[in-house]
Symmetry: C2
Subunit: 206 residues, 2 copies
DNA sequence: GCTTGACAGACTTTACGAATACTGTAAAGT
DNA sequence: ACTTTACAGTATTCGTAAAGTCTGTCAAGC
């Protein structure tokens, strides 16, 4: 096998993407330069062009990798064994939305993702959908049959509402220049309320 | 009495404040000019200085008036007779946060209010507190004694969570350039979920 | 009680050429 | 599989100077 190649390739690629996202996050798409990214990743500028056709392709790949990673982390939080639903949901929403809260990136990555001008819908929308699906699945799994009949809302609706509330907590914390801790407090308060009405099955404490 | 004066004063003042808020909202504090505000309000620029010491005083007065008005509207929504709590809460949150959703004001008023650089905390914080209080009171009033004992969260916590969720709905609708209708759909979905667990008393339909 | 006109000083915008930086491509080297 | 060097064409930044705008204040007038 020409073995080491593809593995080393993968690691290097990942490192480049992580570095690139940091630079894009700090400076925004326009002001981030290929040269700065290359230097930060300790490769030549031309090395970047061997992996990515152009600046936009690199940016989109970095966003995709970041969303994959966040989705993976959030999924892991949701499937944690022996932890109550409420805690798992808070952890997952924090992994999904809280990453850059309080880090005062000049042009916040989360905002870039939502900005229609960036045309990232084809990358972001499926990731958001996947997150909502897993959140809904975790909620459904924790709901008893009884709950499912009794409640007027579906797990999907609960997941959407939690996602909306988490977005609000993030917005408020960002707008008021709060720390990630304060974000988590806001988030926890909202999640607690959503689950407060849903019986003991949802509030099992670890 | 030197009667007409003070009444006419009040009306004129209100008109000026409404116009000023529009101009501040469209252009932001810096780019909004006293001249533009004066012309839009059909008075002379110097007339403004007879009522307001300077640009900042005018801005703060306009913000105060806007918050008073929004708080008044929201309160009215909350005390509407013969309407279920859920609908009243949606209407109140829409009155409180939804006013400028979808109106593509260059520098959205809501964002100005949250921006610490604007130093509006002494005006905004009490108004936000008052809104939360009234929201909590409306929720408390609709909760049966039984509910109050059964639930693990207070009306105040529920109000805060609803407020956070509404902020999230607003952020998402703004970021994605959605209309106010779409904002209300998001908002309603979140409110429905929060109240879903809280028994029939909260979901009485009108 | 409000208007018009005028004014100083601070600040912003515009214009413009020179300097610099960036992207994307290519070729030669290790 | 990557690096270095080089290059064309374009975009961005920088320094500077002139023109313009804005705030806040004053005086005179109805």
């Amino acid at each position: 096998m020409t073995s080491g190649a593809s593995t080393a390739d993968g690691t290097r690629r990942e490192r480049v993407l992580a570095v690139a996202l940091g630079v894009f996050g700090r400076y925004g798409f326009r002001k981030a330069s290929m040269d700065e990214i290359a230097r930060s990743a300790d490769i030549s500028r031309q090395g970047l062009y061997l992996h990515f056709a152009n600046k936009e392709a690199l940016f989109r790949a970095a966003v995709r990798a970041e969303l994959d990673s966040a989705l993976h982390d959030a999924s892991r939080c949701l499937t944690e064994a022996r932890v109550g639903l409420e805690r798992r949901v808070v952890a997952a929403l924090d992994a999904w939305l809280g990453r850059y809260v309080g880090s005062m990136l000049a042009s916040d990555i989360g905002n870039m993702l939502q900005n229609p001008a960036m045309r990232l819908g084809d990358i972001v929308d499926p990731a958001v959908g996947a997150f909502d699906d897993r959140l809904a699945a975790a909620i459904a799994a924790a709901m008893s049959e009884k709950d499912r009949g009794r409640l007027a809302v579906t797990p999907e609706e609960i997941a959407m509402a939690l996602h909306t509330a988490a977005q609000g907590a993030k917005y408020l914390s960002n707008a008021r220049a709060e720390s990630r801790e304060e974000f988590i407090v806001r988030l926890t308060a909202a999640v607690r309320v959503v689950f407060a009405g849903f019986g003991a099955s949802a509030r099992r404490t670890p």
